[in-house]
């Protein structure tokens, strides 16, 4: 019998049906994968299990008995623990307090017994086989450690169902392996785990069963052993996805050097980074998460400062720390975090689209609503951004369309150098392909493109040249044709072995 079963749950927001009649069950001791494009309804399912949203119809059963999850506290009481992609800890409190908030062991007169709390936390970490100091402040913990704290918290609650919402999105390889070990340990103790990920390799490595969702509806639940990546992708998208990567690396004859970075260093982040990017070329910056790739491109764009080195665009040196100057020289940066850095979620679609070129749009220093709308509509159309009214808040768009809007807002500045940081993270397969086609086309038109990506297939499929970083250093430069997963991984990790 399933430990937890969703029966026909549905949930709508306004006119949008986010989840329609979804049913599946989680068995004890089993990792159950859940995949689907963005907007397929995975997050809504998670939130219903967390007690954040109440299903409009249908219900949740634990060991065959229906449970009402009205509040997060109800989920907790039912033994369901949710570990979010970005854990939500209390940064000012100690790790031990984070684990036991609201359930701190008490001594006489209801006073909190800090020593007992510390011991209990140490015990939990010992069970998980990790070393975290329970007394330290949660602020400054790595994301991986934060997840461990969340898992410890769930363990202390005697949770039997663990829901993990894209836990690996921000983890390094080592951290992913540690997490997998912890998850397997949980299953050995009889827990049921719902594991949500965009990364098929992880799903196929870790999970026994796999549920696919599309457009808010359940599509299939099968043992992983019976599935291939292609079948899963087909079920997710609902159609055949042909060529994922439209580009033939090295097909274009690169033009002049547009972006020239020399000796760029910032203490604690990266040192002595130098590379050139030519017109019509896509250069990928590969490496592990935390290798300093995003930091380098942010410094190039001027959002962050650097200690030494120089950045030249078209031969002219950029003043450090001035995104405005970088934009004036024709540099655009599509940042890593769409929601926090790419868009102003409260502003409308058109306001976001024109945010990067308000001054060129203004006549005699004044903006006219009509001109702005026209400019916004033009680019939204060119990139086929699907949106309602242009005055709708950008938060109403799907992830993929948001990403297209970020691209639109930057392409509208007619950049000479386009830097994209994780251009396809967290967007669905269909939009991914569109973004890849777009980037390829831009390079064909002579734009110099720098792409930071953690997805090796994307790097190998798109880049004319691959620069690999490790621990803040540039460790290799590989021509796109010659680069293989092996060679990139070697440069990124400094080790020869490739398989597990």
């Amino acid at each position: 019998m399933s430990l937890l079963r969703l029966r026909d749950v549905s949930k709508s927001f306004g006119a949008v049906a986010a989840v329609r009649g979804v049913s599946f069950g989680l068995d004890p001791g089993v990792v159950h994968g859940l995949v689907g494009e963005n907007g397929a309804g995975k997050s809504t399912v998670v939130k219903m299990l967390a007690g954040v949203h109440r299903p409009d119809a249908g219900g949740v059963e634990i060991e065959g008995r229906p449970v009402e999850l009205h509040r997060p506290a109800d989920a907790k009481a039912a033994g369901i623990a949710v570990i979010h992609q970005e854990p939500t800890l209390f940064p000012d409190l100690s790790v031990a307090e984070n684990i036991f908030m609201g359930r701190q062991p008490t001594a006489r007169l209801g006073r909190i017994d800090r020593a007992a709390m510390r011991r209990a936390a140490e015990e939990l970490f010992a069970r998980l086989g990790v070393a975290v100091d329970p007394e330290r402040q949660a602020r400054g913990l790595s994301i991986a450690d934060q997840q461990v704290v969340e898992i410890a918290k769930a363990l202390s609650l005697d949770a039997r169902v663990f829901v993990m919402d894209e836990p690996t999105a921000a983890l390094t390889g080592v951290e992913v392996r540690r997490l997998f070990a912890v998850v397997r340990g949980l299953c050995e103790r009889g827990a049921a785990v719902l594991f949500i990920s965009h990364r098929f390799d992880e799903v196929f490595t870790l999970c026994r069963d796999l549920t696919v969702m599309r457009d808010g509806a359940w599509v299939s639940t099968d043992p992983v052993a019976d599935l291939t990546v292609e079948t899963v992708v087909r079920r997710m998208v609902g159609r055949e996805v042909s060529a994922l990567y439209p580009r033939e690396p090295g097909a274009n004859e690169p033009g002049e050097v547009v972006l020239d970075v020399k000796g760029l260093s910032r203490a604690g982040a990266f040192s002595d980074i130098g590379f050139e990017v030519r017109a019509g070329e896509i250069v990928a910056l590969a490496g592990l998460v935390g290798a300093g790739r995003s930091e380098v491109v942010r410094a190039v764009f001027g959002v962050d400062r650097y200690d030494r080195g120089e950045v030249r665009v078209g031969g002219r040196r950029l003043p450090p720390g001035s995104p405005a100057a970088a934009m004036a020289a024709g540099v655009a940066l599509v940042p890593e975090d769409r929601r926090q850095q790419g868009l102003v979620m409260e502003l409308s679609v058109e306001r976001n689209a024109t945010l990067t070129r308000l001054r060129p749009l203004a006549r005699f220093g004044l903006l006219s609503g009509r001109g702005e709308r026209r400019a916004a509509a033009e680019w939204a159309e060119r990139l086929r951004v699907k949106h309602g009214r242009p005055t709708d808040a950008v938060g109403t768009l799907s992830g993929g369309n948001q990403q297209k809007l970020v691209l639109a807002k930057w392409l509208a500045t007619s950049p000479k150098v386009l830097i994209v940081d994780e251009p396809t993270r967290g967007i669905d397969v269909g939009t991914k392909a569109e973004v890849h086609r777009l980037m390829s086309g831009l390079a064909d038109e002579g734009m110099a493109v720098v792409m930071v990506s953690s997805e090796l297939p994307e790097v190998l499929g798109m880049a004319d040249r691959v620069l690999v970083m490790r621990e803040g250093q540039l460790t290799a430069e590989l021509p796109g044709r010659r680069a293989t997963e092996e060679s990139v991984m070697f440069a990124a990790t400094g080790q020869r072995e490739g398989g597990a």
Partner: protein, 344 residues
Amino acid sequence: MTALRARRELGVLLALALLVAFTAADNSRFLSSQSIRDVLLSASILVVLAVGQTVVVVTRNIDLSVGSVLGLTAFATGKLFVAAPGTPLVVAVLAGVGLGALCGALNGALIAAARVPALVITLGTLYVLRGVDHSWASGEQINAADLPRSFLDFGTATVLGVPVLALVAAAVLLVVATWLGSYRVGRELYAIGSEPAAARLSGIPVGARVFLAFVVSGALAGLAGVLHAARYGTVDATVGSGMELQVVAAVVVGGVAIFGGSGTAYGAAIGALLLTTIGSSLAVLRVDPFWQQAAVGGLILAAIGLDRALAARTARRAAARSAADAAAGQDAGRRGEREATHGS
């Protein structure tokens, strides 16, 4: 982290000690028992208010209405004694605290239930409660002669040389600081201020707790109102005007983060004591009293600047630590597991 916070409070304490030492060096009477009694007396009301404000500020809220609440309860206490001269002290105190709690509940209900910003709401109730106070008093002043001797004695009496008001303030401080530091509900207040979304997700009844924080702040402002009436004996509708900024200043100087989540009631109390002492010592040092306010302003800026510097140092250390961790991890690790099966 605990050590760091403790250091922060030690810093304020050190500043206080320096100030006292400097003033005493100039005029030894500053350390006379009468003089210390005076400072303690003057500080005790501000301490009670600052402790109450701490409870609200750690939840990432603010209560600007405390000055008006204090004024209203001080006047109500006076009226109570005028109406019923034989009212026992305890009843008067309870009535004041109750009225204050009611005002706090009004703030808390608006903020927690209607989900609107505390700054705006308490700025609104600052006006409203002051207006109510004014129209209730309408020119009436309660004089020492209207108040029973026993009540006035409560304001000036000492036990073993320590003013009773200071003892009351110390008791309030001890109770609230212990509650905030060592009880579940208290810690939940910090959790709410530290990360409200996480607090909600982890099942803390955020609305109820914020409501409670405002009730506590209101109740303590009510208590402060009673103490004010006892101490000064003269009460009219202007009592406590403008006090809110002084209270917020004391809290900030005492190291309670204005964005919630950290700081202790002890710190706030020391902050209040420091602000009061500055006032007295400038008077003793015969510094032009006009400099006093400017000095308080400078102190606030110095305090928040110091907090920022300390926070920056913690962040740097944390970054250095996690960088070291990462380096250690990467040397030993590889990413094979993920990449091997990628895109197969």
